[in-house]
Subunit: 160 residues, 2 copies
Amino acid sequence: MEQNVIDASGLLAISTRLQRLSDQIRKDGLLIYKAFGIDFQPKWFPVLYTLYKKSTMNVVSLSDEIGYAHPSTISLLKELEKEKLIRSKKDKVDTRKRLVELTEKGTALLSTMEPVWDVIIKATAEIMNSQNNLMKAINEVEASLKEKSFLQRAEVYIKK
Amino acid sequence: MEQNVIDASGLLAISTRLQRLSDQIRKDGLLIYKAFGIDFQPKWFPVLYTLYKKSTMNVVSLSDEIGYAHPSTISLLKELEKEKLIRSKKDKVDTRKRLVELTEKGTALLSTMEPVWDVIIKATAEIMNSQNNLMKAINEVEASLKEKSFLQRAEVYIKK
DNA sequence: CAAATATATGTAGTTAACTACATATATTCA
DNA sequence: TGAATATATGTAGTTAACTACATATATTTG
């Protein structure tokens, strides 16, 4: 698929390449933790990191925070509960809510991970700080899509 | 998940957002084709477009071209064959190879799609041409990762 | 030239997200 | 205040990619 040009396959090309890049980045993350002797699944990260920062959260807030649909979060929580890295309790005020928090084992794991983050941050910065900053580009694209969707933009041209 | 900062969750955050963006873009693509009354699955696009441009290809070259693992291509080809949009024949020189090409119906479909591409190109350009060009940013990141992998970069910091 | 290696295709099973639906509890408002 | 609506959680099934493995044919090499 073309490298530089926005051609007719542009949309899907971008979508595909974003996905592949995302995949590669995730795999590299796994390798880095392994290099530190930390056996840990990168997909757990958003949940664990969020709980580390915020202590206790219910399922929906957690999902919103990490940007996943709630069933995805639930299935991650199931795995993490099996690993005894998190535990849940009922919210006494709103009994619909399940409050989730790190166990001692979970907190301990996150502590061993902290030194790695610095390395990851540095390596990420190294890669991101090229001429066109990927993170900023994503932000900009998300912002313009929020302002006016792709379809709406296309419609302007369709009507001509 | 944070919006601007490369924090400890940076890697995965980027990965997640790339995926979500990719998803949204794909869905919008579907809507645009629908707006033109073309019933068509965006995931078919890379295969169909490549065959439209290159006439005939075998499975592996096609996979390389669109950047998919070959089993993914095979399953797309199965769907497309069922839709009678493509057909296959054996390569007489290298009998291992299966040569794939568009049927008349496939070519016809691609012709009805051509006018849409122009709209897509324009709308895509509109979105991409912000300060940090997403496509260029992806290219740059891919290039720097090719030059020196994430893990290798991280290792430099680990060894200190 | 035949044995070892490489390439092309195909199948089976996995993964990590999703949507749609179901149920229980809380909140709102007529 | 109770009926309608909204929110929180959970389950089931889907999707679109992947990896690992299997087999057939070509190519290379000792």
